[in-house]
């Protein structure tokens, strides 16, 4: 019996192409592709019903019970096709109560959000490096110290517009950086996914 990965591998190696052939999409021209992505028009300023932000209060089976920062309660259904991010793609069992999340999906008539993508503890912070010690960047973010940990094999640095590199040794004390990473809940610590360095 072939695994799902084998099927996908043979599909991309057998029939895979440099670009998606129009026939693979049925009659989808560019205008049709845009037509399917645009949902009902949202009034400016109103919340997007297909987006949820908050922290996980509890997990039951494949449903996350999430309290938004505006104290609105959400239920999020995670299915086989849902992508989860926590410093990289992770399986569902990595979602823990207390994790912060952003989720995007399709709102069901009963209010449940069928998630397509869930990003756990994702943060995007700017600041300047005050010190570098033991695989950790000390970041001054608006006067607050944030400890940013380098995770071997995951953390990369993007310097100017060069390709990402696992070598972070060019980072300097007092330079400005932007860090995309995963927050460690209820701490001032972050695991680094990407450090963007302007020079």
């Amino acid at each position: 019996m072939r695994s799902r990965r084998d099927v996908l591998k043979s599909a991309v190696l057998g029939g895979g192409a440099g670009v998606v052939a129009a026939t693979a999409l049925g009659s989808l021209g560019p205008e049709a592709a845009f037509a399917t992505t645009s949902g009902p028009e949202l009034e400016p300023g109103t919340p997007d019903p297909d987006f949820v932000e908050g922290r996980i209060r509890s997990i039951k089976d494949n449903t996350l019970f999430v309290l938004g920062s505006n104290m609105v309660f959400h239920r999020i259904r995670v299915v086989d096709g849902t992508s989860l991010w926590k410093l990289g793609p992770v399986p569902f069992d990595q979602a823990k109560p207390g994790d912060g999340l952003y989720a995007r999906g399709v709102r069901m008539p009963d209010g449940l959000l069928a998630a397509e993508s869930v990003w756990l503890n994702i943060v995007n912070i700017k600041g300047h490096i005050t010190n570098i010690k033991d695989q950790t960047l000390h970041l001054d973010h608006n006067g607050k110290e944030v400890l940013c940990h380098v995770v071997a094999g995951k953390s990369v640095a993007i310097r100017s517009d060069a390709p990402p590199s696992a070598d972070l040794s060019m980072l300097k004390v007092s330079q400005h950086v932007q860090i995309l990473g995963a927050w460690r809940p209820d701490t001032n610590e972050v695991d680094i996914a990407t450090v963007f360095s302007p020079h």
Partner: protein
Amino acid sequence: MHGIAASQPYVIALFLVWAGLMKLLSRRMRAGAGHTALARLAGPARAVPAFRLVALAELAVAAVLLLPPLLPLEAAAAAALCAGFLAYLVYAHVAAPTASCGCLGAHSRPVDLRAFARAAFLLVASLLAIPADPGPPLATLALAEAAVLLALSAELDRHWLIPLRRLLVRLRRPLAAPPPAEVPLATSLHLLYRSPAYCSASAQLTTDVQDTWDEDGLRFVVYGARERTAVFAVPLTGDDPSAVRVSLVREPTGV
């Protein structure tokens, strides 16, 4: 106490002169006055005059401290001024936690523990100076105190702390880890995002990365694309985006 009380006026006067001159003369300080906690206290329009007033008080107290004879009243005036600084820092910490204090020069850092420690140190020094002390000042004590106060001044960090930390980083190389055996996923995704394959399929993608694995020098990256699945094959070596291949397949559930 011989000499201890007599040493204090010099240390206090040094800092008051520095603070007063910075407030009066620094152009950067005047430009940044609106962002300090004093602007919050006195109103943005009155921040610069308020700083000048404080500077004149600081210089006046410094002058009487330095000019003999030293009277207990002069040390008491310095103590009152330092107590005022502490009260102002408490106000700044509570009312404008993101504003800088504007104490000894322009910088954008909010009031922190070091600012409190410096003001408290100056207050204790002024209190120590009140008792009459016939002894000659202790030069080493005064220098040590000045060094502690300078170390507590965030305004000077760029002159010694940052170069020191840079030097330590250069010597210890805390981030020089051996290159990981695996290519980080972000590197593959960077190549993927620039590929014609991804551009042609990106309008179909509805999820972030669902699954990824390496096989035969290729990294397979799987995305959801509505009822289909988009699978990309990204070469692990090389940087040619056109080498990326894509296929949209029906979700192979149950296979």
